[in-house]
């Protein structure tokens, strides 16, 4: 997934849409918005928003540290948690540099699934579909013709905390 910080308005629609789509309990979230302001008034001040969620890392410390295998990688590189195998030890939360996981009130660990239940139906993730500025771009990174691959070819991008070594798969377009 890529997210275009130039277009995002920080409206948080992606956050509510995820909540209603995935029954994320109130007070929790699988995605969230960060605002960054740099420089000073008036000439140099700059601001952008970013919508963040599990980066579906290629190198998954969360899966590695999971003692039960509840955290696992499914087809397409999506990292998922099997609720019935999760003991709620929190190791994966400690392991994730992005704070992408949370303890569901029922005890298991929950996180963004890239809406795999929608992908199965040929739909986009809920947050992608709802975004009023269409700044979330979803697709197959292995397919050079997919919109997401194209966006990464055409635009400058960055990832968060590359030094954490997780090889995150959520790219932020500048």
């Amino acid at each position: 997934m890529a997210m275009d910080t130039r277009k995002c308005v920080g409206c948080s629609d992606c956050v509510v849409a995820c909540q209603t789509e995935n029954n994320v309990p109130l007070g929790y979230c699988r995605d969230w918005i960060v605002e960054t302001v740099k420089g000073s008034y008036p000439e140099t001040v700059k601001m952008h928003f970013a919508s963040e969620r599990c980066m579906q890392c290629d190198n998954t410390p969360c899966v590695r540290t999971c003692p039960t295998g509840a955290s696992h990688v499914i087809e397409g590189g999506i990292v998922k948690v099997t609720h019935d195998e999760c003991i709620g030890c929190g190791a994966c939360i400690e392991a994730c540099p992005y704070g992408a996981r949370y303890v569901h009130p029922d005890g298991y660990i929950d996180k963004c699934t890239f809406c795999d239940h929608r992908l199965e139906q040929g739909m986009n993730p809920a947050c992608v579909d709802v975004c009023p500025t269409s700044c979330l771009i979803f697709g197959d990174l292995d397919d050079p013709r997919s919109p997401v691959s194209k966006a990464l070819q055409e635009k400058d991008w960055y990832v968060l905390a590359p030094e954490a070594g997780t090889n995150p798969q959520l790219y932020f377009l500048k």
Binding site: G10, S12, V16, E21, Y41, M47, H104, E120, P132, T133
Partner: protein, 746 residues
């Protein structure tokens, strides 16, 4: 009655006590319990019904998805709808919180004695009989005309209809005199047509969009924001004039951090550059415009250097931005904005914007402003309405000659005891507006309320206003009811249906039902020949070649139109003005004694230690109506006050510090909030989001969170042309310690 006491509904001994008001946020939302499934269902397992959103007035068409048990799961934008384009904004997506909010009004309430705060739960019969009796009393003692109807949103039509049938046309909406009025008057004077909603700025095709204030992205009107995104995709230039680095300013090619209240100076300078650098659309002006030479002479001295001294904006930036827009013209547009009641000379500011749009050749051009088309829905046949003895016009138009509809503030003035008896208002009927949090100058508001013999409030939530009512009528939410279909002008003509997705919760009723039942009690049966709104809708739909049955299936229907939304090349176009042309020089204003060409007037600057009170929107909230919505509450619980770090330093204010605000008239905010130190604002201004600081304890989530800007707006400058309430002439200072109770006067 002393209304300055806050009198909120006592839900003492409510029949609905079974629904305990749980303390915790999670507990107070039943949804979590109702939707115990932990894995999401795929759409094929869900059922959907059409609606259009009522969380703001953009009215996006949507689908309500329900599970097998009939619980609402989610709301998704209707893909065929122009407003929604398959998406809802965060407020629309979270709209189901309106239905699930446990703090909702649940039963009709009557306060029989204004001296106490006791509200009695009554049946609809009792409540409506009570209102009818009181209304008849006012009719007998004063006249049926001596009542005012204050409405907003979908309930408006039903009650306007009721009162017209009753012989009263004193209805008004805050959407005019506190919102879009000046731009309607300013654009009408120039192009002979108002702007309307959605605003026909052709942003998705534009190469340059100019925003004066107008903080799109925070102002979250759905397709409006979508068009902005398309414009960014098209690499359109964006020019933003705002004292604050608004969201859109951060995306702009040019941000002009203007000194508040000086926009007309900038706009005049832009005209100067466009004309004197000869970069305006000469052909277009020659063909369509009237009064160019007068304008040219008028702006001769308004150079960027002149404007720079007033606006604090670098003259080069003024020049450069004018050239940027000219280069893109005619695919360039100054967006008319929406909330335009700022400083009292707002019609003239909007006139200036309209004039620049003319100079750019934007009106009727692709990428400029399109001319919307609409599908008219015929009225259900009923007998002619009675002619009222007097209407809002009789008490408005001699003063505010270009007011196009009733003015809330004029009707409030007429509600004061000292107003001439003949036109004095003695009863208020309020539906869908949180009136006391919407209209500035509370002192007057309270006085006017004291003078009323009847105040009825129709709302869905126990908002502050309900605490001042004699009768509170709980309306069903938009997810539980029918309303009139949505029409509206757009690029293509469309009609959208709202139907109930679920049965109405509690003892709530839709507005159409309330109006009809009240009509029956007022002897207006003949105006309600139909059984229910379904019948009316089906009749209307049949007339335009569809049916309720079809609309239930598709939600939105598009109608062919052979009108072009752009001017054809070389087309002779008759504008609806005195001269039939775009009036750069307004003959209408000249006739009526207003400035035919916009002039700059200097507005007050804050005293030392005071700062411009700048307010606006947060994308996830609508005014004061969504703070208690469990979903949207989670997104933003309170408003903070933006302060430039340099200003904060003078005060020793640190980021996150708790502060109170006090305005120039000594009004202190009821609650405190946190200071946000940010470079995103001018040092002479502070910024906060409107709609927070609720004082109604019945709003269990929203109560006490943040500061309400409205009580701090005590100085109001009325626009002499259309009567709008300029609300941005107010200044505030900081209190770093909790003020003593007596000081809190808001």
């Amino acid at each position: 009655m002393k209304t300055t006491r806050r009198q909120f509904i006592k839900i003492a001994g409510m029949g609905t006590a079974g629904v305990a008001v749980a303390g915790s946020v999670l507990g107070s939302v039943q949804k979590a319990a109702e939707r115990s499934i932990s894995t999401p269902s795929s759409d094929s397992e869900l059922f959907r019904t059409p609606t259009y959103c009522e969380v703001c007035f953009w009215k996006c068409a949507a689908w309500v998805y329900k599970d097998k048990e009939g619980n609402i799961q989610k709301l998704i934008g209707n893909a065929t709808d122009q407003h929604a384009r398959g998406k809802l904004c965060p407020r629309g997506t979270g709209g189901l919180g309106m239905y699930y909010d446990n703090d909702r009004l649940k039963k009709p309430l009557i306060r029989r004695n204004r001296e106490d705060d006791h509200y009695e739960e009554v049946s609809w019969e009792v409540a409506l009989d009570f209102i009818a009796k009181k209304m008849k009393g006012i009719k007998k003692d004063w006249g049926k005309e001596n009542m005012a109807v204050f409405v907003h949103g979908s309930p408006a039509k039903h009650f306007e209809y009721l009162f017209k049938a009753y012989g009263n046309e004193n209805h008004s909406e805050p959407a005019y005199a506190q919102c879009a009025g000046p731009r309607e008057a300013g654009f009408f004077a120039t192009f002979g047509s108002g702007v309307g909603s959605p605003e026909p700025a052709d942003m998705q095709n534009s190469k340059c969009i100019i925003f004066i204030g107008n903080h799109v992205g925070e102002n979250m009107h759905n397709s409006y924001v979508q068009e902005l995104s398309l414009a960014i995709d098209n690499d359109a230039d964006i020019i933003v004039v705002d004292p604050r680095l608004s969201t859109v300013a951060a995306k702009a090619t040019h941000w002009l951090p203007i000194k508040p209240g000086t926009d007309i100076a900038l706009l005049l300078a832009w005209m100067h550059v466009l004309i004197y650098d000869n970069i305006y659309d000469k052909e277009y002006i020659d063909k369509y415009a009237f009064g160019f030479e007068e304008l040219k002479a008028h702006v001769a001295n308004y150079t960027p250097e002149w404007a720079s001294g007033i606006t604090t904006i670098d003259p080069e930036l003024i020049r450069k931005s004018a050239h940027t827009m000219a280069a893109a013209a005619p695919a360039a547009v100054i967006h008319p904005g929406r909330h335009t009641t700022w400083y009292g000379d707002d019609t003239q500011r909007e006139r200036s914007m309209a004039i620049i749009n003319a100079l750019l050749g934007a009106f009727g051009r692709k990428g400029g402003m399109y001319m919307g088309v609409k599908q008219k829905l015929p009225n259900y046949p009923v007998p002619e309405f009675p002619e009222p003895k007097w209407t809002w016009k009789d008490i408005t138009l001699d003063k505010y000659k270009n007011a196009a509809v009733g003015l809330t503030n004029v009707l409030i003035d007429a509600s004061l005891p000292e107003y001439p008896k003949e036109h004095q208002i003695k009863g208020w009927f309020i539906a869908g507006t949180s009136f006391i949090n919407t209209i500035p100058d509370r002192k007057k508001m309270f006085k006017a309320m004291d003078n009323q013999e009847l105040i009825v409030v129709v709302d869905t939530m126990p908002m502050e206003m309900t605490g001042y009512a004699d009768v509170v009528l709980p309306e069903s939410t938009y997810l539980e009811r029918y309303d009139y279909a949505r029409g509206g002008k757009n690029r293509v003509a469309q009609v959208a249906l709202r139907m109930p997705a679920v049965e109405a919760k509690y003892d709530t009723k839709p507005s159409w039902w309330i109006a009809k039942e009240l009509g029956n009690r007022l002897g207006l049966k003949k105006y309600y020949p139909w059984k229910d709104l379904e019948e009316v809708l089906d009749w209307q739909f049949q007339k335009i070649g569809t049916s309720l049955e079809e609309m239930k299936r598709i939600g939105v229907k598009t109608f062919e139109s052979d009108e072009s939304i752009y001017l054809l090349p070389g087309e002779d176009f008759e504008f609806n003005t005195n001269t039939g042309k775009i009036e750069l020089y307004s003959t209408d204003f000249a006739e009526k004694g207003y400035d035919p060409l916009p002039k700059f007037t200097r507005h007050e600057s804050p005293d030392p230690g005071f700062y411009h009170l700048v307010y606006g929107r947060a994308p996830m909230h609508t005014f004061g109506r969504t703070q208690n919505n469990p979903y949207l509450y989670e997104l933003r619980k309170t408003n903070d006050v933006w302060i430039n770090p340099r200003t904060a330093k003078l005060w020793g204010i640190e980021n996150g510090m708790e502060i109170w605000l006090k305005n120039q008239d000594g009004i202190v905010s009821e609650f405190s909030t946190k200071a946000r130190l940010t470079e995103r604002i001018r040092p002479d201004s502070i910024y906060m989001v409107h709609g927070f600081g609720h004082t109604s304890k019945k709003l269990t989530r929203a109560y006490g969170k943040g500061i309400n800007d409205l009580p701090l707006i005590t100085k109001v400058k009325i626009d002499p042309i259309m009567g709008g309430t300029g609300m941005r002439n107010n200044f505030v200072t900081f209190l770093l310690e909790k003020p003593k109770k007596e000081e809190v006067k808001s």
